[in-house]
Amino acid sequence: MAGFPLPSEITTPPGAEGWQELYSYSSTCSPARAAYEDSMFWFQDGVHWPKALLPWDASLMELAIMSLSQYNTRHLLVPPANGIDYRIVNGYTYLSPVPAPEADIPARAEHFMQRAGHYFMNWNELYDNWLVKIRDLVKEMEGISFEPLPDIEPLEVVTSGAGKGSGGDLQANYLKLLTCASTLWQYHFEFLNLGYAAYLDFFGFCKTAFPGISDLAIAKMVAGVEVDLFRPDEELKRLARMAVDTGITDAFKLGDVEGTCEALRAKGEAGQAWISSFQQSAEPWFNFSTGSGFSSQDKIWIEHVEIPFDFIKGYIDNLQKGDDIARPTEAISAERDRIVSEYAALLASDEDREAFNGKLGLARVVFPYVENHNFYVEHWSHSVIWRKMKDLGGVLAKEGFFEEPEDIFFMKRHEIPDALFDLFCAWAAPAQPAGPSYWPPIIAKRKSIHAALNQWKPTPALGTPPEVVTEPFTIMLWGITSDSIASWLGGGASDDGSLGGMAASPGVEEGLARVIFGPDQINEVQEGEILVAPLTAPSWAPIFGKIKATVTDTGGMMSHAAIVCREYGLPAVTGTGFATSTIKTGQRIRVDGSNGKVTILD
């Protein structure tokens, strides 16, 4: 079988020489591990990390992968699957699932039944507790502050007998933030793979009873009606309706946020009420990233209020045109009931119906976690982490370690304690810190390397693919199947020149393509176009009312993009591998979301 380039064969893109310096030594390929690395199969994770990683951002990727692995391997002992090994190659994340040794599987199964069984048995209670834990964690992170070091410590520091001060706090708080981030990611995977396991069990039952049933049909039976991931969009709609109902829409005709707010305040009570309602929605719901949440560079609604404002303006226009923008929850719920009862009626026996109902019941108990965790972790908690890191960046920038607070993301996580030590020492003496002369050239060099890495087009996979993909979570989370690997090897195009991908949301549409590479380009998307992007984020929801269909390079059935597309009833093909490099804006394309096929018609 043909393969992909080996990790050791990948060359450095021009201008990116020395890129390994941007990442921790353990995350990149090395000669000592080359034989192992070349023997494994690695796929690129463009769902979460579509662009070259920034040095500090890589930390959250590493924490995520580590946490996933520890639950599979050390906590729950998922019978066939250990964790995932990862490498950063030219700035991009490559993953390699680690199977459990065949001989260990029976013993692991025993442990798994006991451990996972405890979670399934007590799911609701544990999930309620999880929601408390995650909110406490957010609160804890919000409580961390990074302030410039004072000229003299306040009197209370002395009189309280604390016996320690701001310099030590700065060091400790950074470590505390890192610890919180690690806890966050452990929480994330506390439930996730269990959720998928129960889902897969129902999935497997359906596929046995109805070999031809689509993944979508199964997803629809399980999907929740009220989902936190849609809540930010719901809040936008609510605010748009409020503006219409209270007759203050003309304030939104002004271009910018400040002008609008001024006009709203001038409207007295109604305008004021709207502003405070917006502020209420914003915490927590607008802690929403325009990307996957994994990049410090993605915009967050609450920090870029113009984004939710623009979406609200769009919804106000819709309402004034007489469109119904409400999410038809009753219809969604009735449709879900219809689907379930029709499939149940087609089953062979009452025993089958009982098993079907039991498995569906469990899948529905666990699925809210699968659907909702993304908001709490990647959006809300990450927003807080990025904000705090920028605060810390502000402290270092003020002391001349670098120019902009955001430059801190060009430091590796373990370089920051050194810089803080440097700062603390020099402040205490006082003396001249080394940082202001040491860091700026390093950061400038890293910026140019990073820019060069972003020009590299990552190959979808490395190494020799397995005969068949068996690891259930790889299939669920990343949409990596034997078929998708085969299609990558073929350069994406099939015999008839069409691109293949996952049939993520059914239906067929034809239209003009709009290829965009990130959330900054969202505004370019015109009514009735077909969106083609490396991936989409849930926070792009409001433009889904405009477009006819979606095509992405990466993502599986359960990718966030797929969930939102199904919600909006738009055809979607995900995980095509090559859509953004094959399709050009303005080309006519046909998207067949039922069969996972994209055809360029021009």
């Binding site: 998922v78 019978p79 109805f210 031809g212 029709e342 025993e351 068996t470 259930p472 199947t481 059914p506």
Partner: protein, 364 residues
Amino acid sequence: MTTTITWFESYWAGMKSEVGGKAASLGEMTGAGLPVPPGFAVTTSAYRRARDESDLDAHIARLLHGLDITDTDMVSERCAKIRQHIATMPIPEGIELQIRGAYLELGARFGMKDVPVAVRSSATSEDSPDASFAGEHDTYLWVRGAEDVIDAVRRCWASLFTDRATCYRVEMGYEHRSVEMCVVIQKMVHPKAAGVAFTLDPTNGDRSQVAIDAAWGFGEGVVAGEVTPDNYRVDKVMLDITKRIVSEKTHEYVLTDHDTVERVETLPERASAPCLTDSEIKAIARLAKTAERHYGCPQDIEWAVDVDLPEGDNIILLQSRPETVWSKKGPITVVAPGQKTGDYMSSIVSTLMSPLYTKGPDGS
């Protein structure tokens, strides 16, 4: 109350004796949302009036007097005379006007003058409703124009007196008056495409799927297996098209200018083009699903997409019969009888290790 004309859509069960088996079934199907080719029935009361207002009974009695049913020559000659008489006898004026009116109305529904119709016999008999010799009664296809329709109606009436039916009644001692004839007049289907559909996947018995085979033109080629048809699977619940294979449909059966069906080579570009649109595929699946619900078991149907009918109403059911192969085996069972269904942990463990996922969520 007696009516001369009954449109399929206004049929109800109480009319069965007035319209005979075939028309009753067409009316019942129309009422159940199974779109047979549109049309109407000329009820038995029309036949009775025509018979009673003429000298038909006396004529029959005279001709059949002393009939020796073992003398085939005699039977053949006398029955032919009766049929000839009926085929030319006058129809009461009111009845003829009603038939003409209904025929014009049928054509007007599709904006067609002289709409081609099938004129079929639908016999009834109080004594033996099933002994109607359905196969022997006449059917006239591609009848155009009111004049020819009236003629065909009379000839259908005449087909009550085929040699065999007549002998049968004589032998059994049934009154010839006891059988009456209703005539069905139905638009001829002029298919853009036609084919068959199963309400299960014939490759594995999956009852969640509708399997459709389709080719250009009339369905003869598909039914006989001489054309490789386009093949579709539609999920019965979601009504999504889950599989599509478009084949090289090298020839097709088309309607000629003189109302015959002829086999022709298909132009290459057309041969490789899908013969159904997505909405037609889904409509056929809905139709198959309705037929299965109506008859209460998996069905094997013949259908056509009629070029004369407006989109949305152009899918026609030609025939529905029980599917036999998989129906005997029963649906796929997952849980063996007596097996416990509550042990979800073992089930989850085996799911995680199941080879089902080796090929990925979307199967094959």
